[in-house]
Symmetry: C2
């Protein structure tokens, strides 16, 4: 099996060992790329998966180890297609027994293929092969090709092909008791004999979604035009036609669908647009050719080679595949963010968290236009973030921890603990650090792309207003001349308060405070970088005066960072005073203790009491900042961090983390990459397996973990290569495990095409044609200046 | 009156001489900026003016010379506000006699003020002052402040403030017999005692538009909270409240409105968003402060100074004001193009033509982000343009002459001649040259901004596909080895066919053929400029092979350009054979013969028979290309154009042009600027007066002529300065009339801030901080290389 294919043998012939590959497919994975999630606190849903065209549950591989035959065809499916022999049962009904089933995802071509054989009660057997895609160039189109062979009989075969607007949001088992109906106003018609159309509207946001589907058929290569019978129900429309098949004959059915929403650009009315798109869509094969070419061009930009390890390479490609299914050049024209679970599942209801922090390094180096569009998604929600800050009594812009279409805070106030079945207060909305991530992404994009126009027109205003928010969050202890940020939650969501305090939130979270300091310094840098006229505009419109800048400067020297007595950074003020958990005891008792918070709550205890983290919190600092950068920041604040405390700090928190987030493994691999490579590789393997092996025991079925997926790619791209952007110089510091063979990939750095090939501590960089000035690359103590089409090799001592 | 103010004294005290200033305001001129026009062939309308908030007809100044009192308050008005004394007539009713009326538009602050006095039948007089704005920073908000003084009475005054969804599209008299109702699904409520809300949906496109308005009042500075009475009708909602006024007391009423559509970004549901915006909108004065600041920042980028002539300066500013009301930084996030009549009137139903050709030079040099967004508007309609080409039997992308929301051709097939009252076939959709304008704009933007990323990711694909379309339009006469383009219409819309030919369109329009040649050469340049990987991608996805490139190359050497016998370029093949018109006779008989086509049709004749142009067609070549560029193109095609034929050509067509388009004056001023400056200045004055003096006799009332407005600014910017962008050098060749005093303005050229000061044949250029590399400027034979904050002066011989 090449690193481009994921296959699954199911049904009667299922092979246990290959099952995990399919988990990575999950449900709805071929959803239309880039559809903007709609969300409302009072009833959320996710049109991304609705408009999929090929939304198709494959629950069998997730919920149990038996193939659920019904699910193969008949589970919620926007564009159902099924067949029956004579008056026999429909394929998908229990009586139509599936004899074997196999499917294969071709990542390179973005094509899902499926093969199955089925036998009706009279012993008649059909062989079915299906191929499907959602088009990567013509984003409104999708194609499904089905071939049916009459294996052992002659007689009539009836095809039913339709559009079903009766589907619901039922992809997440835990949410199924909530109302999953989110579509209203169904209208159906058949604008042509071979074309059906359905128009619906989402219940809360009134987004109009239209779908049209054209079904054609060929018998042994010969086009047929059988009479069609319309089958209508209030929420669906289908057509049936019957073809006489001789034994061994092959019926090929093409279903080409067009989907358009009222929020797509260049729209008059979706119901009209779908006919327009369908009107000049070619046949399956011609569409597939262009689809494959579009994917090929994407893979040219996103390809990674890991020479000695097909498994690593295949999973890396799967992760990139999901990333590009979710955001792609098509996203540039949509008002869409990065949903935490991609377009793959319904968990978190499509909400946007901070996942883009992990996604940007992959995108900024390959599709800067897309990165800029994602930052503009945040820019368009700046008024909402300002409103949130003002409403909470702060200044500047307070970005929400969870948000949907209009950028309001959508974090739920309560959370159901499935272990105790108790609703517990959820204070995770206090993760103010999301704004630091937004600012960090702007800065990172600017460094990677060199896009000064974006920085001036959009980025600067966001960075300044987020900086102002964090400055307004601080309070000043005049006695010690120290600034504090109280009542927040850090990236570690276990700690949302103190054991014996009524209000939620913890004080002086080290991650938040250090990154807020970093931000205030970047705000200053940004003001220095702006052309004078723009700086003046911003200072006038934001009313930034010297007094405020002086305050920022002072905070950037006097922010509090809590330390343990032994020089280890405390996760937050008072963390060291918390009880130690009996980790071995809990592991022995519960096995998987990733969700220790739920275990303890169910025991009547609280994780707030313990030195226990869901995910690396202090360690995130080592992920976002180099050791030198962090050391300089702490020194500026008047703290000493001797180099040897870094490994001690890592050890300390590694021993106290339950890995309740898939991001933990990424961050741990990152921070261990230099100090302890074998352990780093273990964490890399964990991170790679997050979704492929569903290491959280069921969460992959609810949607892939996009940030962790991107994070694994970034481990190859930035961590093991030591790639850093500093001013106008690209720095490298390779540390790539030799046993994985050479690693090769390409990036675009400030418009320079650049190929990097890394093995051990040696890196070769080759430029292409594209950048303005010559490219400066540094490694160890050396710096090279490359013209287009030049190559340099650096070797560091092992 | 400073060059920032336009004032109008109306009513009893009207002063004839100041009337023209108000024509420039016309109706709806304070419409919400940047709303995308919605259009459908079967019933077009224009939400831009609906959502205006301050949509307000001022027909009085347009239709007659009497003030139509009713129109002052009560004509279609989305956000009506009126008052009455006791149980007397409402202000706006005939019985409420307006004694005098004056209004003033402050361009600098984007503020319309109005003063009036009115007397009721009982002799009670009120004095009313109003100020209004649509917010330039907080684009969803608008404000109206009304103060009413009880001049000679004491007693109750009742205020009615509402939102009226019953308004129709009735701004264009000629269209009034068409159905002007375009809103359905009216829902009204009063979410708070001082807040009203109306939600509607457009009839065809189902765009949802919500408006909320908050009305507050103060008496002599003291806030009041009078009880409110709700007034409801099926399509409108209002509230009334009554205040007791003492003689001389002043009642101040603030109405703050929020408008949101379902096509705005960052939207959950418009009805929800308007409350959100209104919820933290401050009062009138605070909002006005920020509004004025936003305008100030825009004016900083767009300001022009003409030292010795206030009239020129005021009109230039009015033109920039309308341009920025239509497109502004807010447009960047909308899927909106450049409508021909701005947001000022309903003529052409908000359709997008080629006006952006005249607008881009102003925008690309000041707000490149906006220019890029407008090009992406065209990029998003590339699939539709490809579809149109395919449907017409061509290759590549055929942009439509008139288009609306989804980029389809919206040109009407018939046109009513108001003189003959006959419907005549309209073949102006054959203006294929619109695609040349789109390509030219991309190239112009690239030259001005240096934005290679846009060129690679978007621009190149458009240029290549438009080039391919024009190549496919040609047919090859193998005998003469010449290519022809037949059956098109050039910019001169008078000639849509030959006198005795059944099919429409003319052959070998010189403008189209020369610019198509220019385009094929730019397509080659673009391929050379692209990074190799991107070039390969595009050649693969567009399937461009060497044979096609060789064909383009061949066409670029063998395109036909028709000439008269005396070396003058023929407007099209056969133009010289057409009859000469008796221009003097027609001028004597009809006076204004701008619409000669209608006059002749009404006479049973046809303009097709005559050497008569509506607007400069051949001369457009001298507008878009320098004489050197045009000469080189013709030489490449094997034609000679001796220098001395240029003035002859200009004279020839000047004598045969009726100026039926406002663009003619701009183009004529341009082409005469060097050869015949006094006549150039006459045309400049004509162009400046297009809308201010409504030189087309009534069309300004239907909407300003945005292209002509921008064109006048560009005459100052590029024509009289000789400003050209060639590769990495900015060229200047000043020719500015000394009698107008020094001209000064600022641009951004490839990220360099640059101030130019021109007088006569002397130009001084000063750089600011911002560009990458040093800036190269050439003038005459000299070239200077400027670092930031450097100045250079060039003087050419007079």
């Amino acid at each position: 099996m090449t690193p481009w294919l994921l296959a699954y043998l199911g049904g009667a012939d299922a092979e246990e060992g290959q099952r995990e590959a399919l988990c990575a497919l999950g449900n709805g994975y071929l959803a239309t790329r880039g559809a903007a999630p709609e969300s409302r606190a009072d009833g959320v849903h996710y049109p991304g998966t609705y408009v999929a065209g090929v939304y198709n549950h494959l629950r069998d591989t997730v919920d149990g180890h038996e193939v659920d035959h019904e699910s193969l065809v008949n589970l919620p499916n926007w564009l159902p297609l099924t067949v029956r022999i004579g008056d026999g049962p429909w394929l998908g009904a229990e009586a139509m027994r599936v004899l074997d089933h196999r499917q294969e995802l071709d990542l390179r071509r973005g094509l899902l293929s499926r093969w199955l054989r089925a036998r009706d009660p009279e012993g008649r057997v059909i062989r079915v092969a299906q191929r499907r895609f959602v088009h990567m160039e013509l984003a409104h189109l999708a194609g499904l090709e089905t071939t049916v062979v009459a294996e052992n009989f002659s007689g009539p075969l009836t095809v039913r092909s339709g559009i079903d607007g009766g589907i619901t949001n039922c992809g997440v088992a835990r949410y199924r008791h909530l109302d999953g109906h989110h579509l209203i106003g169904h209208e159906t018609d058949d604008p042509a004999s071979d074309v059906l159309r359905l128009a619906v509207e989402t219940r809360h946001s009134h987004i109009r979604v239209a779908t049209a589907a054209r079904t054609g058929c060929w018998c042994d290569g010969r086009p047929l035009d059988p009479p069609r019978r319309l089958v209508r129900s209030p929420r669906a429309i289908a057509q049936e036609f019957t073809v006489e098949l001789d034994r061994g004959a092959e019926l090929r059915i093409e279903k080409i669908a067009a989907v358009h929403t009222s929020r797509d650009p260049a729209t008059s009315e979706p119901g009209f647009e779908v006919l327009s798109w369908l009107g000049d869509a070619g046949g399956f094969e011609a569409l597939l050719d262009r689809h494959v070419l579009a994917w090929q061009h994407l893979w040219n930009r996103f390809d990674f080679h890991v020479e000695a390890n097909d498994t690593v390479l295949r999973i890396i490609r799967l992760h990139l595949f999901h990333l590009l299914q979710t955001i792609s050049p098509h996203t540039v024209d949509l008002d869409a963010g990065v949903p935490a679970r991609g377009l793959h599942g319904e968990a978190y209801r499509g909400h946007v968290f901070w996942d883009e922090l992990f996604v940007f390094p992959i995108i900024s180096f390959r599709l800067p236009e897309l990165a800029r569009a994602l930052l503009r998604y945040r820019r368009r929600r700046l008024p909402q973030a300002r409103r949130a800050a003002r409403a909470a009594g702060y200044q500047g812009a307070m970005y929400p921890w969870q948000s949907g279409s209009d950028g309001r805070e959508e974090s739920p106030p309560l959370h159901l603990n499935p272990l105790s079945q108790r609703w517990v207060a959820d204070a995770t909305y206090r993760q103010r650090h999301i704004g630091l991530a937004v600012a960090h992404n702007i800065w990172q994009y600017y460094q990677a792309s060199g896009d000064r126009e974006f920085l001036a027109e959009d980025g600067a205003e966001m960075i300044l207003d987020i900086a102002r928010f964090f400055a307004s969050l601080t309070d000043h202890d005049t006695a010690g001349d120290r600034y504090h940020i109280r009542g927040v939650v850090g990236p570690d969501e276990f700690h949302t308060g103190y054991p014996r305090r009524d209000t939620s939130g913890i004080d002086d979270n080290a991650y938040t405070n250090v990154m807020a300091t970093w931000l205030l310094l970047r705000a200053r840098d940004v003001l220095d970088l702006l052309p004078p006229q723009r700086r003046q505009e911003l200072c006038e419109s934001l009313r930034i005066d010297d007094a405020e800048l002086r305050r920022w400067e002072h905070i950037s020297r006097r922010m509090t960072v809590p330390f343990h007595g032994d020089g280890i950074i405390s996760q937050f003020e008072g963390y060291a005073d918390l009880a130690e958990l009996d980790w071995d005891g809990y592991r022995a008792r519960y096995g998987n203790i990733q969700r220790l918070d739920r275990i303890l709550e169910a025991e009547g205890d609280s994780v707030d009491r313990y030195q226990a983290s869901k995910q690396a919190d202090v360690l995130m600092l080592f992920y976002l900042l180099s050791a030198d950068e962090l050391g300089a920041l702490l020194a500026r604040l008047g703290y000493r961090m001797p180099r040897d405390t870094i490994p001690k700090t890592i050890e300390y928190y590694l021993a106290r983390t339950s890995h309740g987030s898939t991001l933990s493994a990424v961050v741990h691999a990152w921070v261990l990459a230099r100090a302890h490579r074998p352990r780093a590789l273990e964490f890399l393997v964990d991170a790679l397996e997050s979704d492929v092996a569903d290491i959280q025991g069921g969460t992959t079925a609810e949607g892939v973990h996009l940030a962790a997926m991107a994070g694994t790619v970034d481990l190859l791209q930035r961590c093991f290569t030591g790639l850093e952007t500093t001013g106008d110089t690209l720095r490298l510091n390779p540390h790539w495990p030799r046993q994985l063979g050479p690693l090769e990939f390409a990036i675009r750095y400030q418009q320079h095409p650049l190929t990097l090939r890394v093995t051990g501590r040696t890196v070769t960089a080759s430029t292409g044609v594209g950048g303005h000035a010559p490219l400066r690359i540094a490694c160890g103590g050396e710096t090279a200046t490359l013209q287009p089409n030049e190559t340099v090799t650096f070797s560091l001592p092992e």
